[in-house]
């Protein structure tokens, strides 16, 4: 069975490019711009990878990551964000269970390496 991925990015350009990249690696992929676009069925899925932003309306980055881990079942979580301050990065990596943190600008090749 094909691997599954979930991408949550507010930036449309980043969202589309990431989606293409994932699709090119034979994943089944769902790309959304915010969590409220998620269907009920998706919540039963066990995603192989989630690639998410941390900057959304009405929720702090740490709370967001915490809730994301609670709500959606997944095997690994990757953060890609334009909010890449050292402090935020450190705090999120300290939470554990986050397999990578990239802040823009970043190299897509490194993200691909993490996928394989």
């Amino acid at each position: 069975m094909a691997k599954t991925a979930l991408i949550i990015q507010q930036d449309l350009i980043l969202l589309q490019v990431l989606e293409r990249m994932i699709l090119a690696r034979q994943y089944r992929c769902k790309a959304i711009r915010a969590l409220d676009q998620l269907d009920i069925e998706d919540q039963d899925q066990n995603f192989d990878i989630i690639i998410s932003d941390i900057l959304f309306d009405g929720i702090g980055p740490l709370d967001y990551v915490y809730q994301l881990k609670e709500i959606i079942r997944h095997k690994s979580l990757l953060i890609i964000t334009s909010m890449g301050q050292k402090k935020v990065r450190q705090e999120i990596l300290e939470m554990g269970q986050v397999s990578g943190f990239f802040s823009v600008p970043f190299n897509f090749d490194h993200v691909e390496e993490m996928l394989s």
Binding site: I13, V17, L23, V104, F106, F108
Partner: protein
Amino acid sequence: MEEQLLLLIQTLVVILIMVWFIIGFSLVYRKKRKKQLEFIELTFADSIAKFLYPPQGEEYHFLKVQRALQAAGAKPSKKANIQYLIDLMIRAQRTMLGANHSKLRLLFTQIPPYRASLSKLNSRKWYVKARGIREIYEMEQSQYIKEITKERNNSNIYVRREAQIAMVVFLGWESLRFLPYLKRDMTLWQQIKIVEKLYAYYPDAQIKYLKKSYATQRPYAQELLMRTIRKFNLFTEVDYIIDFLDHESFDRRETAIYCISSFKLTAEQAKDVKQRVFKIPNTEQQVQLLKYIHQISDKPDLEFYNAILESGNDILEMSAAEILWTSGYEELVHKFYYSQYSTGPSLKEVI
């Protein structure tokens, strides 16, 4: 009277209806416009995604991108759409590094709005000009560097700022051949921006260009060089900063003290700095430097602090005494202050 009032009411009603009409029109127009811009963004995102990661492994030709964008409304005849497209391009290129970045750069040289920035550069309005320069360096169209270099002394501050940043982005350390010799002054903000850009784009220092510009006598340039040395942590070049510690200008000294605080010194340099403390005409700065010297040395240099205690400046004496006290030389401080009291005539009177 009655007629006049009626006429007035009629005109007001007509104006009110016109205002409503305009508001309605603007609402509809904005809605349509927003939809179109969203559509352009979607098309752009989709086509560069396909360009970077072609479906089924086939090459996705740039003409397809061009056609898709034109179909979405980003044609040369619609200037506002083209401007929006340029902003999107800059945004896209900023998020990526490595292979994708160079692929996008190649793509953007092939699709139409390419020349829009150049025509902005020739505009008479300063804000159009500055924007054009910014677009050129953000999209790394380095062939226009000659035109941009000409603007580095432009009378408008925003145009020359952008031109200077563009020079840093394109020329890197070589831009130090021009930057210290500008006709107009550079603000602190601009100095910081230049150093940051240099660090972001060219993190490997090329000291030969730095050394060549040491001869400059322009105040802002000397500060700029000091900040560069600090940012890149060039400990071999600390002597340049030390030379400004006792400079006659307040600002130059201020910058030097700020910049030196991130370095550790050799014994010889420390000795030099200690001598310069006495030559600084401002007490505040002397205290700052004193604190720095204490910070970098493991053991207090008693001879030096004794000299300060005898300098006759109350505030300096206090700082020196504080440093001596906290490093465990209480007796020295006691001795110093008691000796003052025993000889002071005022104390004798009290006794």
